[in-house]
Every structure is written in C-alpha cells, then in structure tokens.
Amino acid sequence: MLPTCVAMILFIAVPIVSIFIQSLFIEHKKELIEIERCDPFGCETEVGVDIEAFAALNKEKPLGRFNGFKTYTDRNHLAFNELTEGWKNSKTFGEFSKNFMNLPFYKALIFTLTYTFFVTPSVIFLGFILALSINALIQKIKGPIIFATILPMIVTPLVGSLVLFWMIDAQGIIGATIQDLFNDPYLSLKASIKLTWITLITYGIWHHAPFAFIVFYAALQTVPQDPIEAAIIDGANRWQRIRHVVIPHLFPVAVFIALISMMDNIRVFEPIIGFSAEASAQSFSWLIYNDLRNIEVMNFGSAASTSILTIIMVGILLTPVLIKTWREFGESR
C-alpha cells in the first residue's frame, strides 16, 4: 500500500502544488536597452531586448518574477477589469454578453459547461435505451453486437474524432452529401460556431454512450425477477414495468455513470484537436494546451492559473457526489 500512496502523492498531489506555485509567477520582463551599432557608414542606436540579461535572469530565477494573484485576474483568466468595464460601457445586455464571450476564459467556461450538460444526460438516456434493446435480443448474436457497440469507446478520442471528421468534412462522404442536399458548396462544419458545437456534442455522445450502455447492461442482469412477475400479474404493461420496477433499480447506477461521465466531459480536449475546431470551441484543457504547446514560449504562469481554476471548477461540480459517496462508505463500515 505504501508504494501506491507515495506514487499517488508524489505524482498527483505534488504537481497540483507545483502548478499553484507556478501560477503565482509570470515570465520576466524583457529589459529594453539601447545598443549602438557601428558600421562603416556611421553609428546608430537601436532599442532592443537585452537578451543576455534576460537569459541570466531566467537562469537565476527560472520561475520568473512574482506576480501574486494578478495572473488570475488578467484578461486571459477571470478578467475582472474587463468585466466591470464592459458592464459599465455596454448599454444593452446583448452587447455585454458579446464582450463577455470574447474573453477566453469565459468562452471556454461556457463551452465546457454546455458540452458537459448536453452530453451527460444524452449519454445516460441513449445508453439506457441501448441496454434495454440489446438485452432483449437472443443470446447468440449478443456478443458481436456488444463488440461493435463498444468500438467508439475503446479508441482514443483523437482517433475517434478524426475518423468522424474525415467523413463529415467537405470532402468526406457525409459532408459532401449534405452539401449536395442543400445545394450549398460552402456549407461546412467550420462555417458556423453552432454547427461546430453540435458536431462536438454529437461526437461526445457517440464516444461515451457505449460506456453507459455497458454499465446499464450489466446492471440489468441483476434486476430481480420477482417484482417484474408480480407487476405482470397485476397487469402492468411493458412501459409501466420499466418505469416502476427497472428504473428505480437502476437509479444508483445512473448516478455512477453521471459522475464518471461528468469527470470525462469536463476535460474535453482531444476532439477539439481532431475536429480542428479550436477557432469556435475552446475548453479549459485546450486553453492550457495552447499556453504550453510552443516550446519556445511557454506561458507556465498562465497555464498554471487556468489549471487551478479548472481544478476548483471540478471540485465544485463533484462535491455533491463526493459527499454522497462519503456517507455511503461511512455507513457500510
């Protein structure tokens, strides 16, 4: 047990502390100096970045200079100034919300939340229906059908979204057909924000539904037969049996699926890369990725602040479930 604990603390808890510390710092200011350049035609002074001093400073204090919580409140994160100013200056609510949507953090917040709250319930619903219908099949063909059903889940999101993207794209089978149908050669996934969001959400449902299906399917095998037979004797029809016997039995399972699915949806990231949708849809994970992807200029401070804010978000969303787990666990002892 000790090694597991040490590993978890060392590699999960320590990085969280590390990003917190990083988030307090910001890269050094680049000192401007005047450089005199002389060539055969005379001397002139130029203003340039003092590269040597910058490098020396970086070596001495690799984290950068201390910035306190200012990174959290700058334009790229919580943007308090921009919000208050926008509120004062904009006359209508529409104007304000337009400004609001231009701030990267809130843009990502709205997308992430929309994605999570559309995908999670749809996944539970679709998974439940799938489990009911596949459960009604004859035993022989269940195996292959279950295999085909879980395919979208086992491939990595990047591959899954690429495979779909190549079909939906203007040159793929679905995209081209849709263009023909609407007779609009410019209609494409990237044409509008709404279409992109719908595609990403559809993808999310496609990717996660198999998981919900499997869990529901397994739980269906444990539904007790006696109440169902009793319900049949009492004259309940199929729908009533499902509504009053099966659903209450599966409710705790649905909570579990909701929890796992929410955890996964909040970190939505790879589909955005796969669908090359970063122009119109950005999630928190993508913001962090964007800060770090260029090796030359890595914004550790900015990425770390976004990370901390994300962790806080995840914490808020998960508190109710955690409290529930805690109580149940306490009772079972």
């Binding site: 590699f11 590390s18 491939v155 990047l158 690429l162 994970s285 666990f329």
Partner: protein, 293 residues
C-alpha cells in the same frame, strides 16, 4: 429479463431491431469506412466529386494500377517513421501496465484488508485525483521536468502515466479484492503463514481475473494517451497517437493526410484485436465499480 410471461409483440421487436441496426451503423461504420479508405490514394478518400471513389478506387487505379494500394502504409511507416513511434508505444504500454499492476495489486489488497479509517481517505483521494483533467497535471510536471532536464524521454512519461492510471487501478482492484473472502487468507494465517506468504500462496492464485481486467484498462490508457505523451515527449520520442496527430499538419492539402489515415488504421487494429479477445473482462471491469453504486 426474458421471463415466461414476457411475450414480445411483433411491432416492438421490429422497432427494436431497426434501432439496434441504426446504432450499429453509427457505431461501426466510420471505422469500416476509414479502413477501406486507407488502401486508396488521397484523391479517392478525400474526393469532392464522388464518394463512391472510396469503394471503386477511381484515382487509385489511375495512379497505381490496382484497386488497392499499400502506399499510404508504406510511406507512413518508413518515411514518416511510424515504426519508431510504434516501438515507443510498445515500450510505454508494457512498462505502464507492469508497474501499475504491481503497485495496484499490493495497494488494492492492502486497502481491502485494512481495518483503519485512513484506508477510506486514500480511496476518496484516489477518486478526487481520478477527476483531475490530465492536462492540469501535465502542466504541473512540465516546469520541474524542464528544470531537472528529464523532459522528453520515455521513463518520465511512463512514471507519469502510471501515476495518472493509479487511482482507477486502485479502485478496480480494491473492489475486486473485496469480493475475495477474508476467511481465505485468515485461514492461511491461522495455519502459520505470514502476511506476505498469505498473499503469495493464497491470494495470488485467485487474483488473476481481477488483475487481467485492471491490466487491460492500464493498457488502453497507456496506448491511447495523447495529452501526456504529446506534452511530455520530445518529437523524436513520440508514441503513436501524438505521432499521427503531427501528420495532420495545418491544412488538409498537405500530402501527409493519407499517412494519418493509414496510421489511424495501424494504431486501432491491434486495439480492436485485444478487445475482441478480452471483451468479457473489459465489461466486467467496467461494471465492478458500478454494481456497488
């Protein structure tokens, strides 16, 4: 739920079959399509004029003389150095699975037998860690790794993946060991086994179903990972998934598109094989946590 009194009406049966058929098409067709397309040239797979080209291979016949071509695979594996990425993937996956199973088995067993309250706290902590988006952790690793000069190499990435994987493995094996009756190892200890001997001779022979399941999940995580490997490995050391992402380039008209298509197929095929073999274990693994609520 098939009981004697459960007579199915014909109508419902038909609706049911249509629904499942529709879902199967949605779920499996994209993969079949990509698989077919990977044996064609780019003009066929990304054809503006006629999607039937993906089947008939109109341009493929013109360019290569046959209806199917392995060009995309050959170029990606050799010119695109995909073989190297595949090798890296195998190394990373192997070590991640081995290490996390070793730690997870010991940890899960200890937790399931532990009478103390702190065991519970560890499990809750594991649940919270499970919820952390991977990239937030990665952003925490990056800076120290750069400072220590251990960025970009395989061993560090393996350790990070093990750590990220650990909460899930721990929960899975914990619930598995809970189903192994305590009396079993207690009886062993009454007969004079030490704690370790009880684990070695009594638990180990019966733990394989749980361990195989946990191993499959570690395998899928390590094999499929993009976030961690893309950020923590240098370009030369990339595993398969980041490698194929790098083929995408910035726009579709670069010649590498077919490389990406063929490497998607090469990367998914082994995974599908594994799942086909171990379908039962994967399903049981996903449900152990759930049935307990």
């Amino acid at each position: 739920m098939a009981t004697l009194a459960d007579k199915k009406s014909k109508k419902l049966l038909i609706i049911n079959s249509i629904f499942i058929l529709a879902w199967l098409i949605i779920a499996a067709f994209p993969f079949i399509w990509t698989f077919l397309g990977s044996f064609k040239v780019r003009e066929d797979f990304f054809s503006r004029s006629d999607w039937w080209y993906v089947i008939s291979g109109f341009h493929t016949i013109i360019e290569t003389g046959g209806r199917y071509t392995l060009n995309a695979f050959r170029e990606a594996w050799i010119e695109g150095e995909f073989w190297y990425a595949a090798r890296n993937s195998v190394i990373v996956t192997f070590f991640v699975v081995t290490i996390s199973l070793f730690l997870g088995t010991l940890g899960g067993y200890a937790l399931s037998r532990s009478p103390y309250r702190y065991a519970f706290w560890i499990l809750i902590a594991a649940l919270v860690f499970r919820a952390m988006p991977h990239i937030t952790l990665v952003s925490g690793y990056l800076f120290p790794f750069f400072q220590l000069n251990i960025w970009g190499i395989l061993p560090t990435t393996i350790i990070v993946l093990v750590a990220i994987n650990q909460p899930f493995t721990l929960w899975l094996l914990y619930s598995f060991f809970k189903t192994v009756p305590k009396e079993l190892d207690e009886s062993g200890m009454i007969d004079g086994c030490s704690h370790f001997q009880a684990f070695r001779y009594i638990i180990m022979p019966v733990m394989w179903p749980g361990v195989i399941t946990a191993g499959l999940f570690s395998l899928m995580l390590a094999y499929n990972d993009f976030t961690v490997t893309a950020m923590l490995l240098s370009y030369e050391n990339h595993t398969m998934v980041p490698k194929l992402a790098s083929y995408l380039g910035t726009n579709q008209h670069e010649g590498n598109m077919m490389w990406a298509v063929s490497s998607v197929v090469s990367a998914t095929a082994p995974l599908f094989m594994v799942v086909m073999f171990f379908q039962k274990q994967i399903i049981s693994g996903l449900t152990t946590g759930a049935v307990k609520g």
